[in-house]
C-alpha cells in the first residue's frame, strides 16, 4: 500500500517537473521558433517579390539619350514590361565635370521621353524608378547605326524595333499584357515567305506538354543550320527583309507578318521560355544537336506544313537576348579579332557566358586550318584579386579544317576541349555555338556556307557560383586564334571585368507550369 502510494507521489512529482520544464522552456522555444520561421519566410517572400519586380524593370526597360535639332537633350524610354513604370530620379554627369540630379514623377506606359534641357553634353545618365531599379542610359548613337525616330509606336512595334535593331533587351510578355494572347495570321505564302505566321525554336530542352493543346518551349537557343538559306532558300527572303543580310541562321522566330510582331534571334546563348496554345498537333518536334556540344538540342516548329493555316496563341514569352559587352581594343589586323564581345545572359537557373569573335573567312588569309582557344573567368559578388582564383574557369579549344567544293568552300569544326573548373574540380563541359555563313555566288546561283564559329557560350549552374537572382557576377575572357603556321593572335577583355546582374527566370517559368498544368 505504502509502496503504491510512494510510486504514485513519485510519478506525480516527475510529471510535474516535466510539465514545468515543458511550459517554461520547450513550449516558448518551440512557439518562438515557429513564429520566427513564419516571419522569416514571409519576409523572404516579400523580398523575393520586391527584388524580382526591380530586376524585371532593370531588364525590361531600355532607354537612350539623344540631341534634338534645337539642341535639347532628351531620354527616350521604351518600357517592354506591359505595366507602367514611374521614373523618380535622373542622375546626369556632363562632359564638363558638373553633375545634376533631377527629381520627377514621370509615368511611362510603353514609350516615353524625358527632357534633359539644353545643358552641356551628358556623359553619364541614369534613371531611377519608383521601385528602386537603376537604368543606365547610353547615347542613342552608340546603340543604333542609323537614326530612328519613334513616333506613336505600338507595343508590338517597340518589340520589332528592339529586335530588328538588335537592342540588348529582354522581352517578357505575359497574359496581363495580352489577355487574349498573340495570334499571328498566316498570310499569302506565294507573295512573301512561308515563315510568316510561324513560331520556331532550336532549344536545349524538349517540348513539354502541359495539358491538351498547351505546350512549354524552354531552353538555351542557338542558330540551326537547316533553317539557313543554303539549305532552306525560302528563309532567305525573311532574313534579308529583316536584316539585309543572311550571315546567320535563326535560333528563334515568331512572326505575324510584315506589319505585325516580329521576334527573331540569331545569337547563341539566348534563352527562351514560352507557353503556347496550338490548335492542332501539326507541329515539328525532333532532336537536332547542331550548335550544341555535349548537350542535346531540340527543334520545335509550328505549323509544320506550308499549307497549314493553323493559328497559335502565345500565352507567355520570355526571350533573354544575350548582353554583349564590346571589347574596346583595336586588333592589329582588323579582320582577325579573337575577342569582339564578352557575352553574358541569364537562363532558367543558370548563368550563360561566352565570347564572340570577328566574322571572317579564314581562307581569305590563306588558312587551311584555324584554331580558337579561350578561357573565361567568372566570379560572383566581386572582382577576385587574381583571375585564377575565380570561382569558375572555363577553357575551350576548337579547330576548323577547310573543305573544298567546286565553286565554294566551308570549314568543318571540331572541339578539342571544353572544361569547367570549379570548387568541385575540373570536368568536361558543354557549350552552344553559332557559325558565320559566307555568301558564295556565281552568275547562276548563290549559296551560303559555314566558314567560322564566331560565338561560343557556356551555361553555368547557379549553385556552382553560389549566387541567386539579383546578385552581381563578374566575367572576363581571353581568346586566341592560331594560324596554320603557328602564329598566335591573342586578345583579352581590355576593360577588365564585365559586371552583370544575374536574373534567372526559374520562378516565372515554374509559375507558368503550375498555372497551365492545372486543369481548367
Amino acid at each position: 500500500m505504502k509502496n503504491t502510494l510512494r510510486k504514485g507521489i513519485s510519478g506525480i512529482t516527475i510529471g510535474l517537473i516535466a510539465a514545468i520544464i515543458f511550459i517554461t522552456i520547450v513550449l516558448p522555444l518551440t512557439v518562438s521558433y515557429i513564429a520566427s520561421l513564419s516571419h522569416r519566410y514571409g519576409a523572404q517572400s516579400y523580398e523575393m517579390g520586391y527584388r524580382k519586380y526591380k530586376l524585371l524593370e532593370e531588364k525590361g526597360i531600355s532607354a537612350c539619350y539623344t540631341k534634338l535639332a534645337d539642341g535639347t537633350y532628351i531620354v527616350r524610354i521604351n518600357n517592354t514590361l506591359g505595366n507602367p513604370i514611374v521614373v523618380s530620379l535622373i542622375y546626369i554627369k556632363f562632359n564638363n565635370g558638373s553633375e545634376a540630379v533631377k527629381t520627377l514623377e514621370e509615368k511611362i506606359n510603353s514609350v516615353g521621353e524625358i527632357n534633359l534641357g539644353k545643358d552641356a553634353l551628358p556623359e553619364i545618365v541614369k534613371l531611377i524608378t519608383s521601385s528602386g531599379a537603376v537604368i543606365n542610359v547610353p547615347n542613342c548613337s552608340q546603340l543604333v547605326a542609323t537614326k530612328v525616330e519613334i513616333k506613336e509606336i505600338s507595343y508590338t512595334k517597340v518589340i520589332e524595333y528592339f529586335i530588328t535593331k538588335r537592342y540588348p533587351v529582354n522581352i517578357y510578355i505575359g497574359d496581363k499584357e495580352y489577355p487574349e494572347g498573340i495570334t499571328p495570321q498566316p498570310i499569302n505564302i506565294s507573295r512573301i515567305s512561308f515563315y510568316i505566321g510561324r513560331i520556331a525554336s532550336h532549344m536545349s530542352s524538349a517540348l513539354v506538354i502541359l495539358r491538351n493543346n498547351t505546350y512549354l518551349i524552354s531552353g538555351i537557343i542557338t542558330p540551326l543550320d537547316d533553317w539557313h538559306p543554303s539549305k532552306n532558300p525560302n528563309l532567305l527572303n525573311l532574313l534579308i527583309a529583316l536584316f539585309g543580310t543572311a550571315d546567320y541562321a535563326p535560333a528563334f522566330i515568331m512572326d505575324s507578318g510584315p506589319a505585325g510582331l516580329k521576334i527573331y534571334s540569331n545569337e547563341a546563348g539566348g534563352y527562351v521560355a514560352s507557353v503556347v496554345l496550338l490548335n492542332s498537333t501539326d507541329y515539328v518536334n525532333r532532336t537536332d544537336d547542331y550548335g550544341y556540344y555535349n548537350m542535346s538540342g531540340y527543334v520545335f516548329e509550328y505549323p509544320s506544313s506550308l499549307i497549314s493555316e493553323d493559328r497559335f496563341v502565345v500565352k507567355e514569352l520570355i526571350l533573354n537576348i544575350p548582353y554583349k559587352y564590346s571589347d574596346p581594343d583595336t586588333p592589329s589586323n582588323a579582320s582577325i579579332d579573337p575577342l569582339k564581345y564578352v557575352i553574358v545572359n541569364s537562363g532558367y537557373d543558370y548563368l550563360i557566358v561566352g565570347i564572340q569573335t570577328s566574322a571572317f573567312d579564314p581562307d581569305e588569309l590563306g588558312w587551311d586550318t584555324i584554331q580558337l582557344n579561350g578561357t573565361i573567368y567568372v566570379n560572383p559578388t566581386n572582382i577576385p584579386s587574381n583571375k585564377n582564383n575565380s570561382k569558375v574557369i572555363i577553357r575551350f579549344s576548337l579547330i576548323g579544317n577547310k573543305v573544298e567544293d567546286s565553286w565554294y568552300h566551308s570549314y568543318n569544326y571540331s572541339f578539342i576541349e571544353v572544361t569547367l573548373l570549379s570548387n568541385e574540380g575540373e570536368i568536361n563541359w558543354n557549350c552552344t555555338y553559332r557559325e558565320y555563313f559566307k555568301k558564295f555566288e556565281t552568275f547562276l546561283r548563290a549559296t551560303y556556307q559555314p566558314v567560322l564559329i564566331d560565338q561560343i557560350t557556356f551555361p553555368i549552374p547557379q549553385n556552382l557560383l553560389g549566387i541567386s537572382g539579383g546578385e552581381n557576377v563578374y566575367v572576363c575572357a581571353e581568346t586566341a586564334f592560331i594560324a596554320p603556321n603557328g602564329t598566335v593572335y591573342s586578345d583579352s577583355y581590355s576593360d577588365g571585368w564585365v559586371e552583370y546582374v544575374y536574373m534567372p527566370v526559374k520562378e516565372i517559368v515554374n509559375s507558368w507550369v503550375n498555372k497551365y498544368s492545372s486543369s481548367g
Binding site: I21, T24, R40, A43, E47, V101, G132, I383
Partner: protein, 199 residues
C-alpha cells in the same frame, strides 16, 4: 563515543532540499539559456522583416581625385540607417564609419546640407563585423557607432550624397555601403550595396 543515527525523516528532508536546490538551479540556467535563445531568434526575426523592406539605392558612385562620392536614395517606405562603408581592391582594403570617417549630405530641393538626424548606439554583434566586413583587427571595430538616418524618397523627395575623403591609387575598386538597423537599442548590419569605380 556513541554515534547518533540521523533520523530518516531529517535525511529525507535534506535530500529533498538538495535535490530541489539543484533542480531549481538547473531550471533557472535552462530558462536563462532559453531566454537568450529567444532573444537571438527575435532579433533575427525582426532583422529579416526589416531587411525585406529595405530598398536603399546607390544612384551613382565615383572618385573625384580626393573623395569617394556616392549619390543614394531610399526607395523603400521606412527610414534606413547608414552603416560602414568598405572600399576595396585586390591590393587595398579600407573601412569607413559614418560621421567619423564619412559625411552624409541631404539634397532637399536645391538645398544641400549635412544630415542632422544621427543616432549613437552600441554595436550589437562583433562577429557580424568580422564576418561581413572581413575585419581581422578587432581594435578597428568601434564600441559605439553614430548612424545617419535616410528618410524614404517617397515621403520627402530627398536624395543623399555621401562624401568619403580618401587617397586612392589608380585601379578598380568596389565601393560597398552597408545599410543598418537598430534592434533593442543596438546596431546590426543589414545589406551591402556595391558599385564598381575606376580611379
Amino acid at each position: 563515543m556513541i554515534k547518533k543515527a540521523l533520523s530518516p525523516v531529517l535525511a529525507s528532508i535534506i535530500l529533498a532540499s538538495v535535490s530541489l536546490a539543484i533542480g531549481i538551479t538547473i531550471l533557472m540556467w535552462l530558462s536563462s539559456q532559453s531566454t537568450l535563445s529567444l532573444r537571438e531568434t527575435q532579433i533575427e526575426s525582426i532583422k529579416a522583416k526589416i531587411l525585406s523592406q529595405e530598398n536603399l539605392v546607390i544612384i551613382h558612385a565615383y572618385y573625384n581625385g580626393s573623395h569617394v562620392v556616392i549619390y543614394l536614395c531610399n526607395m523603400g517606405y521606412s527610414p534606413v540607417f547608414l552603416g560602414p562603408l568598405r572600399v576595396y581592391s585586390s591590393h587595398n582594403k579600407l573601412i569607413a564609419y559614418p560621421t567619423t570617417n564619412y559625411t552624409l549630405y541631404v539634397a532637399e530641393g536645391p538645398l544641400i546640407s549635412e544630415v542632422n538626424e544621427k543616432t549613437t548606439v552600441p554595436i550589437g554583434s562583433i562577429s557580424e563585423f568580422t564576418e561581413k566586413l572581413d575585419i581581422r583587427n578587432l581594435s578597428l571595430i568601434p564600441n559605439n557607432i553614430t548612424l545617419y538616418t535616410i528618410k524614404p524618397y517617397h515621403e520627402t523627395s530627398n536624395y543623399y550624397i555621401l562624401v568619403y575623403s580618401v587617397s586612392l591609387s589608380s585601379g578598380t575598386y568596389t565601393v560597398e555601403l552597408w545599410s543598418a538597423t537598430i534592434i533593442y537599442e543596438k546596431m546590426y548590419l543589414l545589406k551591402p550595396h556595391a558599385e564598381i569605380i575606376s580611379v
